[in-house]
C-alpha cells in the first residue's frame, strides 16, 4: 500500500447517510404490469428495436439490437407481449421506447452454455449477447471495454467504492454475492492471463470487505486482494482509483486500458457472472431507493424497465413536502421530474431529497477550499471567474477539461458559489474548439 498516497488523498468527508439502507437485504419486489425499455440505456448508439407490436417475449428475449460500434443489446426483463413501440423520454432523453405487458409467467430464454474452456473471443461475445453495460453509472458497453483491452491487461481492478452518499447497491451486491464475484473474477483472470486483482472497497463498509475476504479464502485464490480505500469522496472515480490502488496515473486522453488496467464496477462483474455461469442476459439490477422523502428506503432487485413510480410505491410512497428526485447520488446524480421514467441498466440509486430554498450566492472570500479539495488539483474558483468574465481561453490554461464533475467545489464553498456549473458551462464553450486530433 502506498502510504503517502493514502495520507495525502484529496477529497472531502461528506455525511454519507448510508445507514438508511446499508444493512438491508436486497428484496425482490412485485414486477409491474407494464415495463418500458428505452433503446437509449447506454453510452453510444441506441439499440434498434427488433420486435413488433404483438410479439410474445420471454425474459432474455432480444428487444433492441446492438447497432455496432459503441452500442449494446437490450432484452426483455419479463415474459409477456410487446404492446407498443413509440418515441418517448428515458433518463437519457427522447428515444424509441418499447412497452411490454407482463404475463407474470416469468418464462426465460437462456443463452447457450459456454462450456469450460472459454476464449477471450467467446467471453466478449457473451458480454455483447447479454447486453452488459457498466453498472456504476456511466453505462459504457462492457464487451467493448473487454475487447479493447484483451492484449494489454496486467491488472484487474474491481471498483467497489461507492463513494456517493446514500448509495448502497454495490455494497449489498458485494455482501450478498461475494462468492459469485470471486468466482467470475478468477475466471476473468484466467481468460485474460491477469495475475493481480484488486477489489477496492471503502473502509467504512467493513461488511463488504469481510464478505469478500471470506469468499476469497474459500476459493483459495492468492491473487485477489481487497484494497481498502479511505472513506473520502470521490474514491469511486475510475482514474483516481487506479492511481490510488496501483500507483499508475492515467494521462490526459488515456483510458484505463492504455495503462494496462481492466477496470469494472462490482455490480458489472456480478452481471458478467450471471451471463457466463447462468447464461442470463442483463435483465435486472440492485437499486437503492432511498432519501429522507421516501417512507421505507430499500435495496430492491428491480427488473430493467420498471417505472420509478412503481418502485416508489413498493417503498411505501413519499412523505409530504417539496422534493427533488435524483437518479444516482446527491453529488453527481441527475434530477428528474417525471416519475413515469423507467430504470435502466445504470440506475444505481433513486434518491428523493427534501427540497430546500435555493442557497444564495455570496462573494468569494478566497478561502481556497475548492482548490485544496479538488481531487484533480484544478483551481475551480479561477475557472469559474474565467467563465463569468467570458475569458474562455483561460479555461484551457487552467485545464478545466480535466474536471471529473465530482462536485466537491460547489459542495464545499462557504459562499455557495456554483463552481461546478461554471466549469461545466465553460467546458461546453470549449467543446469543439480543440477538436483537431
Amino acid at each position: 500500500m502506498n502510504l503517502i498516497k493514502y495520507l495525502t488523498t484529496k477529497g472531502v468527508k461528506i455525511p454519507d447517510h448510508k445507514e438508511m439502507t446499508r444493512d438491508l437485504n436486497v428484496v425482490n419486489i412485485k414486477t409491474p404490469k407494464h415495463l418500458y425499455y428505452s433503446m437509449d440505456m447506454h453510452i453510444g448508439k441506441p439499440a434498434k428495436p427488433v420486435v413488433a407490436v404483438g410479439d410474445s417475449v420471454k425474459i432474455g428475449s432480444l428487444l433492441g439490437k446492438n447497432q455496432g460500434g459503441i452500442s449494446a443489446n437490450i432484452h426483455s426483463s419479463v415474459s409477456g407481449k410487446v404492446i407498443s413501440i413509440d418515441e418517448d423520454g428515458g433518463f437519457r432523453g427522447k428515444c424509441e421506447l418499447i412497452t411490454v405487458e407482463n404475463d407474470y409467467k416469468d418464462e426465460k430464454v437462456k443463452l447457450k452454455d459456454l462450456g469450460d474452456d472459454i476464449s477471450i473471443e467467446e467471453f466478449t461475445k457473451r458480454l455483447q449477447e447479454a447486453g452488459i453495460t457498466g453498472k456504476g453509472g456511466a453505462g459504457f458497453p462492457t464487451h467493448i471495454k473487454y475487447e479493447m483491452e484483451k492484449h494489454e491487461a496486467e491488472y484487474l481492478l474491481i471498483n467497489g467504492a461507492e463513494c456517493e452518499p446514500y448509495s448502497t447497491s454495490d455494497h449489498r451486491c458485494m455482501v450478498e454475492y461475494a462468492d459469485e464475484i470471486v468466482k467470475i473474477t478468477n475466471l476473468i483472470m484466467k481468460i485474460y492471463q491477469v495475475d493481480e486483482t484488486y477489489i477496492a472497497v471503502e473502509n467504512q463498509m467493513p461488511e463488504s470487505k469481510r464478505a469478500l475476504n471470506q469468499a476469497i479464502k474459500k476459493s483459495h485464490s492468492k491473487s485477489i486482494k481487497v484494497y481498502e480505500l479511505p472513506s473520502i469522496y470521490p474514491q469511486g472515480h475510475a482514474a483516481l482509483q487506479i492511481d490510488k490502488v496501483l500507483g499508475i496515473e492515467t494521462k490526459e486522453k488515456q483510458r484505463s486500458g492504455d495503462v494496462g488496467v481492466l477496470q469494472s464496477n462490482v455490480s458489472t462483474i456480478k452481471a458478467i457472472h450471471d451471463a457466463v455461469f447462468n447464461n442470463e442476459t442483463f435483465f435486472r439490477r440492485i437499486i437503492t431507493v432511498t432519501g429522507p422523502m421516501i417512507k421505507t428506503p430499500k435495496n430492491v432487485m428491480a427488473r430493467i424497465g420498471t417505472e420509478v413510480a412503481h418502485l416508489v410505491e413498493e417503498c411505501g410512497g413519499f412523505y409530504d413536502g417539496e422534493r427533488i428526485n435524483i437518479t444516482g447520488g446527491p453529488m453527481m446524480g441527475k434530477s428528474f421530474g417525471n416519475l413515469s421514467l423507467s430504470v435502466d441498466k445504470d440506475t444505481t440509486t433513486l434518491l428523493f431529497l427534501k427540497r430546500h430554498s435555493k442557497t444564495e450566492e455570496k462573494a468569494c472570500i478566497r478561502c481556497a477550499r475548492c482548490i485544496d479539495h479538488c481531487p484533480v488539483s484544478l483551481q475551480p474558483i479561477l475557472i469559474s471567474s474565467a467563465y463569468r468574465t467570458r475569458e474562455y481561453d483561460l479555461g484551457i490554461t487552467l485545464k478545466s477539461e480535466s474536471c471529473i464533475n465530482c462536485g466537491i467545489c460547489s459542495y464545499i464553498c462557504p459562499s455557495k458559489i456554483n463552481l461546478l456549473d461554471d466549469i461545466q458551462n465553460l467546458n461546453k464553450e470549449l467543446e469543439g474548439k480543440d477538436d483537431d486530433q
Binding site: I14, N325, I365, A368, I371, L382, T397, G407, P414, L420
Partner: protein
C-alpha cells in the same frame, strides 16, 4: 416545477462565510477576555468601539454606495476586533475609530468589499497608525491596577544587548511572565496561552491550517537565530514578546490577502517570518511584522503563480502570473 434546472451537487456543506467569521470571533474570546482582565474596563471600551465602528463604517459605506449590506457575514466585526486588540491600553479611543475607518472604507470596501482587498485591512490600518501616531501608542504600561509605565518590550527587541544577559537584571520579564501575559503590550497580544487557545480552536474547526502559524513563527525563529548570535533565548523572546504570535494566528491566516494554493501559503508565511526577523535585526525596527505582512500581501499572487499544482494527468503546471493577480 422547474426541476430540470436543478443541478448536481444537490447537497451543500454547512460551511458559510458567516460561520467562518463567527469561529474567528470565538477564537478571539480568550484574548479579549484576558485583555479586560489584565488591562481593565478600558479594554472593553476599545473592543466595543472597534467592533461597533467597523460594522457601522461597513454599513454606512454600503448604504451610501447603494450596495447590498454584508455586515451580517461578521467580517467587519472581526476586523474591528482585531484592530482594537492590536492597540495598547493607553491608545486614545479616537485612534480606534481612525483604524477601523481606514481598514473598512479604504482597505476593504474601496477595492470592492470582502474578498477583493489586496491588503489585510487590520494590518494596514495598524501600520498606518504606527507611522502616524507613534508617540501615542508606544507608551507601554504593565497590566494591573497600578498601570506602571514600563520599558517597552519591543525596544528590547531593537536593542543590541543580549537578552539573556538582561534577564539577570530583571529588566526583561521571565518566560513564565511572558506566557501568562505579565508584560506590557497591545491589549490582545500579551497573554500567550489565550492566543494558543484561539489557535487550537481555529485548527480544530479547520478555519486555518496548523502549519501556517507554525511556519511563520519558525521562519522568524530561524532568522533571529541566524542573525542574532545564535542565542536561543533571544529568538524565543522574539516569538513571544511582541506581536508575532498574535499575528501568526490571526493576521497572516487571513484568506483574502494571502495566497490560495496550500504550498504558496506556507512559503508566504515563512517569508513573513523571515522578513520580520530581518527588519527587527538589521533595522532595529520593532513592529516589523505588519510591514512584512503588507510586503507579502503584494507578493501573494506571485507565490500562487509559482506554486500552481500539477493537474491530474497533465505534465505542465504553469499558469500566467498576470492572471492570478486579479481578484
Amino acid at each position: 416545477m422547474m426541476i430540470s434546472e436543478l443541478k448536481a451537487p444537490f447537497i451543500r456543506s454547512e460551511a458559510t462565510t458567516h460561520g467562518i467569521m463567527r469561529d474567528v470571533l470565538i477564537a478571539l474570546i480568550p484574548v479579549s477576555a484576558m485583555a479586560i482582565v489584565y488591562f481593565g474596563i478600558r479594554s472593553l471600551h476599545m473592543i466595543i468601539l472597534g467592533i461597533g465602528s467597523a460594522v457601522f463604517f461597513e454599513y454606512f459605506y454600503q448604504k451610501v454606495m447603494k450596495k447590498e449590506s454584508t455586515i451580517k457575514d461578521l467580517s467587519a466585526a472581526v476586523t474591528g476586533l482585531l484592530i482594537a486588540l492590536s492597540l495598547p491600553p493607553t491608545a486614545p479611543l479616537w485612534i480606534v475609530l481612525f483604524g477601523t475607518a481606514v481598514a473598512i472604507i479604504f482597505v476593504k470596501q474601496l477595492p470592492g468589499g470582502i474578498g477583493k482587498n489586496t491588503f489585510n485591512p487590520a494590518v494596514l490600518s495598524r501600520v498606518l497608525i504606527k507611522i502616524l501616531f507613534t508617540p501615542l501608542i508606544t507608551n507601554w504600561v504593565l497590566p494591573g491596577p497600578d498601570a506602571v509605565s514600563a520599558a517597552t518590550p519591543l525596544s528590547l527587541i531593537g536593542s543590541d544587548t543580549s537578552v539573556s544577559a538582561l534577564i539577570s537584571f530583571s529588566e526583561v520579564p521571565s518566560f513564565y511572565d511572558v506566557f501568562m501575559g505579565n508584560i506590557g503590550g497591545n491589549i490582545g497580544e500579551t497573554v500567550k496561552w489565550a492566543i494558543l487557545l484561539g489557535f487550537a480552536y481555529l485548527v480544530i474547526r479547520k478555519v486555518i491550517s496548523f502549519w501556517v502559524p507554525i511556519s511563520m513563527l519558525g521562519g522568524l525563529f530561524l532568522t533571529i537565530l541566524l542573525f542574532g548570535k545564535s542565542d536561543f533565548n533571544i529568538a524565543l523572546y522574539h516569538l513571544t514578546i511582541g506581536t508575532a504570535m498574535f499575528a501568526a494566528v490571526f493576521m497572516v491566516t487571513d484568506y483574502t490577502s494571502g495566497p490560495m494554493i496550500k504550498k504558496a501559503r506556507i512559503y508566504y508565511v515563512l517569508l513573513i517570518g523571515i522578513i520580520t526577523g530581518v527588519l527587527r535585526i538589521l533595522f532595529y525596527l520593532p513592529g516589523g511584522v505588519g510591514i512584512a505582512i503588507l510586503i507579502m500581501n503584494v507578493l501573494a499572487p506571485v507565490l500562487d503563480g509559482v506554486c500552481t499544482p500539477r493537474v491530474f494527468g497533465h505534465t505542465g503546471r504553469t499558469i500566467p502570473v498576470s492572471y492570478v493577480f486579479r481578484k
